[in-house]
């Protein structure tokens, strides 16, 4: 029953995407509203033109580089500090004010400083992305630990597992995993948003290429990179869903 419902659901999704593309294609071909947006079929020809000189793959590689470093640093730092705040009353007291002060600042507001500190460089882009990924991971790790049933710690202590290390390994990390994994997933999404924005400020990558293309009114090229980002995002998100499902079998 359940699998049948899932199949129907997937079918509806595929049909709706195809329908969307078909309507889009038809509307742009009739030239009713021109210039609206190039038809989806133009993405393929744009891809062939861009990739002829290897521009597409070079830009994707550059962006992926910024993305991976930024997300990695932001995620690791966020989770580490979130755990530290949840586990140590001293760190918790220290972070409270600072976090309240810094958290509302959107990652992009850091762009001027990123450029002053790191120049127009890979590092500047990674920094912006890292800030974006940092906060969501920080709060998910912190609240993930807070949400663990305190009685489990006492239960563990009565079974000889009351040491700091045993608590962290046997309760804190597995118990906060659902929240932490959800945080990583949102961080991956925020990362794609931030990488593009950072590159629009001139750091080489997909964002900068889109800026160039729009300057030359090459809307099909802009569209190509929009589609590229959408694909990357979807792939990351789907991978993360699979990983989470595998790690959180016990929730089912």
């Amino acid at each position: 029953m359940k699998s049948q419902a899932t199949t129907t659901n997937t079918l509806i999704q595929v049909v709706s995407v195809l329908g969307f593309l078909a309507v889009w294609e038809a509307v742009s071909r009739t030239n009713m509203v021109s210039p609206l947006i190039p038809p989806p079929s133009s993405i393929l020809s744009a891809f062939r033109r861009e990739q002829a000189d290897g521009i597409w793959s070079a830009n994707v590689a550059a962006t992926a580089g910024h993305y991976v470093w930024g997300v990695l640093i932001g995620t690791v730092a966020g989770i580490a500090l979130g755990y530290a705040a949840a586990l140590s009353p001293v760190v918790e007291a220290c972070q409270e004010g600072v976090a309240r002060l810094l958290r509302p600042i959107p990652p992009l507001a850091w762009v001027p400083f990123a450029i002053i500190w790191f120049g127009i460089s890979e590092l500047a882009a990674a920094f912006i992305i890292a800030i974006g990924a940092f906060w969501v991971n920080y709060f998910s790790a912190y609240s993930g630990v807070q949400a663990i049933d305190r009685r489990l710690f006492e239960m563990c202590a009565t079974f000889g597992q009351g040491g700091w290390w045993a608590r962290v390994i046997k309760v804190v990390i597995p118990g906060s995993a659902p929240s932490v994994l959800a945080g990583i997933r949102s961080g991956l999404g925020i990362g794609w948003f931030a990488v593009l924005a950072a590159e629009l400020f001139g750091i080489p990558g997909i964002g900068q290429r889109m800026q160039e293309a729009s300057g030359m009114l090459a809307t099909d090229v802009v569209l190509l990179y929009m589609a590229t980002i959408a694909l990357c995002y979807t792939a990351c998100d789907a991978a993360m869903v699979l990983v989470s499902r595998r790690m959180l079998q016990w929730l089912a």
């Binding site: 009685r151 489990l152 009565t158 079974f159 000889g160 597992q161 045993a166 597995p174 995993a177």
Partner: protein, 256 residues
């Protein structure tokens, strides 16, 4: 029924001396002058109204809570690869991210180095509660009664000298509760582990215990300490037992 001092003098597993308990160091005590010992193989039930500090007594024995006054003696564990105490809680408190088998292994970690040995001990404990076939399941996939059985297996796996049970069947439906009471008696007869069992249910106390300690009054203290020398298996419903439960009930209500 006879007085406690007629018990054969078996070694003491746990002894409490003049325990006073309260929330906080200087607060009014909720429990005063509680002294008793549990001897090897004994099934001791502590019964009293809720809020009287029964669970806190268990936490004093475990060392999780320091009493305002008094001392606790726990017989040192002499057997290798065992712990002195095995705990069973009202809410089984299984680790939901561990399968049944590794939940039962929890108390053996740091006690038995070999993974295979831990596994054997855990399976042995699971077979005592009849859940060997559930070893690979997640706690979320079990019923309430099965979860509590896993909790009991986890405590038995450390082969404790004393099993401490804090209203373990309080949250179960009546049918499951009776089934688990009988299972527990079966395990107790097989393993001869001493048990300190806490409940607020008088019928449960008289059905299970060799000896029933009744807490009551304000601040609470021991109002009755009764040896129940009725043969087992005991009947659940018969006039004598009804009378006894009624007697206990009256003592409680008059002392409160």
């Amino acid at each position: 029924m006879a007085r406690v001092n007629m018990l054969p003098q078996l070694p003491v597993v746990v002894e409490l001396f003049d325990i006073s308990l309260g929330y906080g160091r200087r607060a009014e005590p909720i429990l005063t002058d509680v002294s008793f010992s549990v001897r090897e193989g004994q099934f001791l039930v502590i019964v009293g109204p809720s809020g009287v500090g029964k669970s806190s007594l268990l936490r004093v024995v475990s060392g999780l809570v320091k009493p305002q006054k008094g001392d606790v003696y726990v017989q040192p564990q002499t057997r290798r690869e065992s712990r002195s105490l095995g705990f069973v809680f009202q809410d089984p408190l299984l680790l939901p991210w561990r399968r049944v088998l590794t939940n039962v292994e929890l108390g053996l970690e740091g006690l038995i180095a070999s993974r295979a040995e831990r596994r054997d001990r855990a399976l042995e404990a699971l077979s005592l509660v009849g859940l060997e076939s559930h070893a690979g399941k997640w706690p979320n996939a079990l019923s309430g009664g099965e979860r509590q059985r896993v909790g009991i297996a986890r405590a038995l796996a450390v082969q404790p000298s004393l099993l401490l049970m804090d209203e373990p069947f309080g949250a179960l439906d009546p049918g499951t509760r009776e089934a688990l009471q009988d299972e527990l008696l079966g395990i107790w007869e097989k393993t001869r582990t001493s048990v300190m069992f806490i409940t607020h249910d008088m019928n449960e106390a008289t059905y299970l215990g060799d000896r029933v300690i009744v807490l009551g009054g304000k601040p609470a203290t021991i109002v009755h300490d009764i040896l129940v020398d009725e043969p087992r298996p005991r009947l659940r419903t018969r006039p004598a037992e009804g009378d006894f439960a009624g007697f206990l009930y009256k003592t409680f209500s008059s002392k409160r």
